[in-house]
Symmetry: C2
Subunit: 209 residues, 2 copies
Amino acid sequence: MSTKNKILDAAESLFANKGFNGTSLREITGQADVNLAAVNYHFGSKKELIKAVMSRYMNELSPRLEGALRQVCEIESPSLIDVFSAFIDPLLSLNKFKDNGTSNFLQLLGRGYTDSQGFLRWFLTTQYPGVIDNFVLAVQKSYPELSAEEMFWRLHFTMGTVVFTMSSSDALIAIAKSDFDRELQISDVIRNVIPYVAAGVGAPMPLKR
Amino acid sequence: MSTKNKILDAAESLFANKGFNGTSLREITGQADVNLAAVNYHFGSKKELIKAVMSRYMNELSPRLEGALRQVCEIESPSLIDVFSAFIDPLLSLNKFKDNGTSNFLQLLGRGYTDSQGFLRWFLTTQYPGVIDNFVLAVQKSYPELSAEEMFWRLHFTMGTVVFTMSSSDALIAIAKSDFDRELQISDVIRNVIPYVAAGVGAPMPLKR
DNA sequence: CGTTAGTTTAAACGCTTGTTTAAACTACTT
DNA sequence: AAGTAGTTTAAACAAGCGTTTAAACTAACG
């Protein structure tokens, strides 16, 4: 395994578990069994390393996700459950791509929205706009009465639900184990959240005041 | 204004905007116009300062919130909209208690769940269990078919929606202004999120697989 | 074999972090 | 007026941070 990949792997799991700010380059290179200076040699800086970790996943995920969402748009009259279920397979495919891939990626996404004052949010929305566009199209097709303004709000609420849930999914899984004696996986968390966000986005249009 | 309160005020706004890890004691004491050592003298450590910032809000909020939720339980058959609407007044009352209080508090709550590996979650759930208990009771009364396990998940999803939305409420309000020419307040955001979370929590129980 | 480009290494850099120290200052009591 | 408890202050502390340097190593090519 190349030094570059050893760094990426170690950085990924540490970033996911402790956040970007909370993880030092010395922890990363220590876990990767690699010299400290290797990060700056191969990636230039810590910030570029963060981007590289995210890009590795996004390049794998975004074509699959766009494809799945386009497929939903071809259904006669898709439900919102259909729309959100389109995320399942692409997300779970990250587990074949890498051990704990799905979980790590979703946690990283959550970190990216709260750590680092949103520079990662900017990076993702500008580098991978196709995902969002196809998602909006799919929601419009399954709930045409939803106004653009209401859509805007509900998609942000949904983003919040998913990102927040996934960034603390480890803790949630642990609680589910101790309180309900359930051995859950990240895939169970994904399946659990779908009815919730589908119902939220599908809520009736509120009456104008 | 006492040194202690100057520190609390500065820490609160910096923590809300940059996170706990992302804010140094020197930034705090600088903004508070107070000597660096004053933090350790008055609070003992940075960790204790974080707790103190949160406690100041929780002590103000939790009795009002518990009262409002208990009132909901006395309604004949409360809707989930009733339950979540019970949060509006207590949360907005934080704005009278302190400038930007509502917004700061909700952002801090979000930080507490992602920064610092969840020690703040532990702190809040153990120190202020009454809020959660009354909230669960109210939801149970308005949706008795919801199992305890499903309730656990949906309440966490709701927490995510609210916390994430509020922590980025400034950005959302700005976008609503530029895209839809709407002049919104934090109270409008709160009212906007209520139908979403009410529908999410009220989603039909999924079929067992 | 010698050269060269690419990579790894140990050490140090300058800077920031949270915390501690001991002296200075303040205000109230005896 | 002297003493004392509480508070504020400047300075230093040890530790950790991201980054840089220059020397050592590796492997392939002419």
